[in-house]
Symmetry: C4
Subunit: 267 residues, 4 copies
């Protein structure tokens, strides 16, 4: 193990390049993997188009094979080297904890379907989940930090709004079910069915596949549409004030140590 | 009455656990009732799906029976013990006032249909109204307080926006009725009918069941859609500034031990 | 004229009760006229429903006749007494200026159709325009003042956004016309026709009567829908900052003369 | 060249009147060109309506011919005189740089189709692109400056939101493709096809041509609609705080002659 140690450390740092070290090889590996993820996503999208798949099928299969080898190797190396991380330093328990961490699960979810999809339902499309890995780049994007920070800060308010939305949806759909189910038993035939209308109305998507036809139903629908817009004004307002707060704190932090340039007193 | 008094006080505190006292029995009763409300709502939803109801009908009937006993008992105990509350301390007038209070009416509305629905229209679905009781939990959720506070504070502005919206809807629908009723007498045949289009357009739901087909109607519809979006920007703006105001006051309250820069006294 | 003068002054004050004087008769007249306007609007709405009109036609006709007498009398009295107002004090020029003022034009528009609609197109529905008069009540509603003030203050920004929206609509519709007119000549047959799609997409109403079916058209439509939402975020942001500004100025005005309670220095 | 120089300078200043000089001829040329651009746009729109084109075809052709001569002359004069601008002062390289500048490309795009469209696809509609030139007027509109400034300032945050939106769209559409493609192979037959649903749902346009019919698809669609609204609350919040920030800086700039409370010096 003493001989392996330095090599494992190096592998660990290469695979976790965004953590600090920024040698050429680390950066190249990082961008190579991100590029491969993006190309894989593009392949998944293109392969879903029958005509394109029919034409380039061998190429897609080959590319998938190669990238799966790379991703599987990456995954194996990650699990092997994760013990370099303090949080996962215990050989067995640490590795298990790492395997169960969100990012590692995403990686597993992206390669597992490939090995399982022999004759079964084709789950290879799950590779697209790997796209979530691209979010890693987020680490370099300051603007995303700000947005993430504001959302996290206002988490409680946003979740509560979501809760009220859910409650409202349930109440409104039950009411609509009573009103409309007789006139349109195929579309408002049960409360879960009616909820599909409820979401479409509250969010103002309004696909147009379900809508009330009775006067009472139309009245309720109108009220709900207005209420829905009001309800969605709340998170917007919360976020707006959150961004303002964030900005003010930033300015305050920048202006913390200002002094009068004439007499030197702190202002 | 002297012997009953302590017991009634205890019942009162158990049923109004959120008011202060937090013994184990109070908390258990509180959460048991909330759970029963949620399960009842789930039952109502599931029972509305014919296939599920056909299969588990006896279970649903039994569960409803039991919960109705519990809710009726709860209601009776609430009416009986409400005189412990200062606001309702007079035996007759106080109890009547309590029965007519919003929360008690919700409770009554939730159990009454059960007793009335023998052969009549099945109103038992109104049990779902009990969900509003869940809002009681809101008392523990600080974020909901903030939102509620901001909305209450901006009540006047929000109501006025609603009023303007209503006025606009009436005017616009009358105009559209003149323009479009000849081309589509089945959809724009009267002003109330046209209002259904008006709401769908102003709120941008746009189900697609009614829309103008004449050039003039399309022009008016376009103007209204843009106006509608502008109109809904107003409450959003109001709420955003309301949340900002709330935050600033909070910060100000936290910073309230500041001193006069001239004499050094606490302000 | 000397004998008429005091009477005319009184009439003027009664009809413009919201300007200052608040005797019982002034308030009664004010509310009576507002009620009559609202009832007239309700009548217009109900009369548009054929079945209701068939049943209560004589009543509607009678009510309309009476209210038209009242409104005509009110209009005549207003024109006659308007010279009491400083702005309109010259007998001929002043009265002409008054007749051409927006509120007086609304009043005229509301009674004129009644006298013109003999055999011609039935324009009596224009009575609904009178509803705009209800906005007079706005004078008493402080919240509407605040909203109006903020909108007026941000007028330039809001109009500019509208202008950009219009320009965008023209460009996007022309582009869509090139892309889609061949595939759907009935729906995207000309640029004005395509604009109907443009508005529905930019405002996210999406009735669903027109939508692109070619891949290029769908791509453009997607971009426009996202752009549209972004475009409407601008006025919302403008109004939000406008309301915040308003609030801050109000607070500043309230706090203008605060002094340190200990040493009396202005803070 | 010495003789030509003063004339070229004059031409340059006339064509770039908004840059500073404001003699009568400069202003007249400026407004004449803007008017011609607007009339050209109006012509393009009207010509797209078959019935109007059939009637006024010769007039449209004539007007187009004249304006193309004017625009071509304008373009030639701009290219010729652009060397007066410091950035483009080198005869060949400078002119090339000018020709490749965005505004010059718009001008070229607007006249080129006219010369190319002999028998080929009719691209003359591209003249409408010239409308972008109208944005030049923006230089005089202060409100547009403010909006543009705020957007530029929040560029990073807005772009990041767009990026997250794109990522989300890809993930969600892939998931929906798995869920729904079997039930509706014609509408959810490939991931790019499914993206059309994704955009319509995330932006709440909801045309209604594609929507899920399976319970799982409806559930995902509901989640996405709510998420979409939340996602669009972010740029609104960002812009709102941006406008507030802008206002505060402006106020601060106006109040910049404040004095130090300790020594009385101007700060």
């Amino acid at each position: 193990m003493s001989l392996l140690y330095p090599f494992r450390t190096r592998v660990y740092h290469i695979l976790n390049a965004d953590d600090g070290g920024q040698t050429t090889i680390e950066r190249v590996t990082d961008w190579f993997l991100i590029l491969l993820v993006l190309l894989n996503a593009a392949t998944v999208v293109m392969q879903s188009v029958k005509s394109v798949d029919a034409r380039y099928h061998p190429f897609f299969v080959g590319f998938e094979l190669v990238s799966m080898y790379v991703f599987t190797l990456e995954y194996a190396l990650r699990v092997w080297s994760c013990v370099e991380d303090r949080r996962y330093q215990r050989p067995w328990r640490g590795r298990l904890a790492f395997v169960l961490s969100p990012l590692a699960l995403i990686d597993l979810l992206a390669i597992l379907p490939f090995f399982l999809s022999v004759g079964l339902v084709d789950l290879r499309i799950l590779r697209v989940v790997r796209l979530l890995r691209v979010l890693k780049v987020a680490r370099y994007v300051r603007a995303l930090h700000v947005i993430g920070h504001v959302i996290r800060r206002k988490r409680a308010e946003l979740l509560v709004t979501l809760g009220v939305l859910g409650l409202m949806l349930l109440l409104v759909s039950s009411l609509m079910y009573i009103i409309e189910s007789e006139a349109q038993p195929d579309k408002f035939g049960s409360i879960p069915d009616t909820m599909w209308w409820g979401v479409a109305t509250l969010t103002t998507v309004g696909y147009g596949d379900v809508f009330p036809i009775t006067p009472a139903g139309k009245l309720l629908s109108s009220l709900i549409a207005v209420l829905g817009l009001g309800l969605f004004a709340i998170p917007t307002g919360i976020l707006a004030s959150g961004f303002s707060e964030q900005l003010q704190e930033q300015h305050a932090a920048e202006a913390k140590f200002t002094f009068c340039p004439h007499c030197g007193h702190k202002l």
